[in-house]
């Protein structure tokens, strides 16, 4: 096991009853104290992966250890370290917020601690709702309660499965603030998402999963560099014989078939070079009648990654 890794996944596969293979030989190390984003389209196997680590789904093959303990042989040790906020929002309609959060703490083997429950509820702006029944809460509030449940037993690892799906901006911001605070206190956080922006905002490292295979794991900076490319397409009046000398500093390509000049740049940079390019084009006397920009869609990025991997 890697010295700093807190979760170690080796050769993990899952075939559901009925024969569908949701995970294919996944290897992954999660580092202690990091925020890790598992990025992938719907049906990629993100929830399956999380559910296996948490003990909700049985693995078909492979081994998972959490802080050196096997998730099956030493399930008590591993599960008491983990808090899970599930993707779906199942709740006990008739229970009060306070009871349902306290219940979770007990379930995870911790003695009652009203002070801790109180601070968790307050940090999630749930304190004034503590005596409300679950069924009276809005979707966003329910999500907050599920987070409170996951935090009730002071986990050292927190899984957030699609935490911002269908969540309003306010909760999203509160949630990120909370997540950063937890990370600062040493909690390891693994979140899944199918939004690149979300992975980008939050995570330190990103794993990309598609059709059950982990395609790559990279530091966010590197990945964003790779994924953040954008193209500016200029539809020229006249074909070019070559790229003029004063434009040689730009990442340019001429496509004769469509008479397009394509400029590839990084949209996240402070200076994208677009202004400079347009000025230089004017100087070189190159004219165009239309322009459009194009950013790779997530689908395309996945396709690119898959082909790149081969």
């Amino acid at each position: 096991m890697n010295k700093q890794s807190i979760i170690s996944i080796q050769g993990l596969s899952k075939t559901y009853d009925g024969g569908f293979q949701a995970l294919k030989d996944v290897d992954l190390q999660i580092r202690k104290g990091e925020i890790f984003a598992l990025l992938g389209p719907n049906g990629a196997g993100k929830t399956t992966l999380i559910n296996i680590v948490c003990g909700i789904v049985n693995p078909t093959e492979g081994q998972v250890t959490v802080d050196g303990n096997d998730i099956i042989a030493d399930y008590r040790a591993t599960r008491s370290m983990i808090g899970l906020v599930p993707q779906e929002m199942p709740t006990e309609a008739f229970e009060t917020v306070w009871n349902t959060v306290s219940f979770s703490r007990g379930l995870f083997g911790k003695p009652a601690d009203p002070g801790h429950i109180e601070s968790v509820l307050k940090s999630l702006s749930l304190w004034d709702k503590k005596d409300n029944k679950m069924m009276t809460l809005s979707g966003g509030m329910k999500r907050r309660v599920l987070i409170a449940k996951a935090l009730s037993h002071e986990p050292r690892i927190l899984f957030l499965d699609e935490p911002t799906a269908g969540v309003d901006v306010e909760l999203r911001q509160d949630m990120w603030k909370l997540v950063r605070g937890l990370r600062d206190s040493g909690v390891t956080i693994i979140l899944t998402t199918h939004y690149i922006e979300e992975a980008e905002q939050m995570a330190e490292r990103v794993g990309v999963i598609n059709r059950g295979s982990l395609i790559l794991v990279q530091d966010k900076q590197e990945l964003m560099h790779r994924l953040g490319n954008k193209q500016l397409r200029l539809h020229l009046h006249e074909p070019l014989a070559g790229i003029p000398g004063n434009l040689s500093d730009f990442d340019l390509e001429f496509v004769p078939e469509s008479c397009e000049l394509v400029y590839t740049y990084h949209s996240q940079r402070e200076r994208t070079g677009v202004t400079m390019l347009l000025l230089a084009l004017g100087e070189a006397g190159i004219t165009f009648h239309d322009v459009d920009t194009k950013q790779s869609s997530l689908e395309e990025i996945f396709v690119n990654l898959v082909t790149w991997e081969k």
């Binding site: 948490c54 899970l84 995870f108 449940k149």
Partner: protein, 253 residues
């Protein structure tokens, strides 16, 4: 042992009972009272005493068993089926809790409710008939044994069920008939010889017989056979539950 978890589940389930007090306690008490009125008072007044015990008093143990069985099954099956249905089971499955602890929580709570209910029904019965219990310890043993066994059986049904119909079907199609034909309202000796033999395949007969013996020292089969058969059923349920947990049947994908 994760006692905090056992307590959490147990208290949660008990709280559910108190929230649905009418359904859990009041309804069985009312239906039992109706049985007394109909069978004990109206019909019973025309039936001679059974082996020296008035008919009204004779049916008390059977009525208690009837409620114990149906309520144990319905409480325990609902208790575990509901989290499966709503999805909150994810939390139980991801908690650092062993199967034994899950059982202690759910089955313990269901059995506790049944025992409370049994006592309430006995108390209700004293309003209608004079009651005496010859062997209180044995009576309590049967009360507890039956509650635990059938709560366990209900737990199995709750796990097996993947819809509300399945949840109802076994109690309705199997347990009710077996209970009615299990000597709750008559002594097996009153049946023709052929049916006496058939009846012996009905496990409820042993429960009712043993339980009734603790009241009036009247039994269709010997006390030890009653204990033995009940224990065999308990063991069968335990083995099934062990298998369910070992394979994750209907709980884990």
């Amino acid at each position: 042992m994760n006692l905090h978890a056992v307590k959490a589940i147990y208290m949660f389930e008990m709280a559910r009972t108190f929230r649905t007090l009418y359904q859990s306690i009041l309804a069985p008490v009312i239906s039992t009272s109706l049985y007394f009125v109909v069978f004990g008072a109206a019909i019973g007044s025309r039936i001679t005493a059974v082996e020296g015990v008035s008919y009204g008093a004779f049916i008390v143990p059977g009525l208690v068993m009837l409620s114990l069985l149906t309520q144990s099954i319905s409480n325990a099956s609902f208790g575990i089926y509901f989290p499966k249905f709503t999805g909150t089971i994810y939390e139980i499955l991801s908690a650092p809790i062993s199967y034994v602890e899950i059982l202690l929580g759910y089955v313990g709570a269901a059995a506790t409710k049944s025992i409370i209910l049994g006592v309430i029904i006995l108390a209700t019965a004293t309003l209608f008939v004079p009651l005496e219990v010859a062997h209180p310890l044995i009576m309590i043993t049967f009360l507890v044994l039956t509650s635990v066994t059938f709560s366990l059986f209900g737990f199995i049904i709750g796990i097996w069920a993947d819809g509300f119909e399945k949840l109802q079907i076994i109690p309705l199609l199997v347990v009710m008939p077996l209970t009615f034909l299990g000597g709750s309202f008559y002594s097996v000796n009153m049946l023709p010889p052929f049916w006496q033999t058939v009846t012996l395949f009905n496990p409820v007969v042993y429960l009712v017989s043993g339980f009734r013996w603790s009241f009036y020292e009247l039994a269709d089969v010997s006390l030890w056979v009653s204990f033995g058969m009940t224990s065999v059923f308990l063991a069968g349920c335990l083995v099934t539950v062990w298998w369910i947990f070992r394979t994750g049947y209907q709980l884990k994908a």
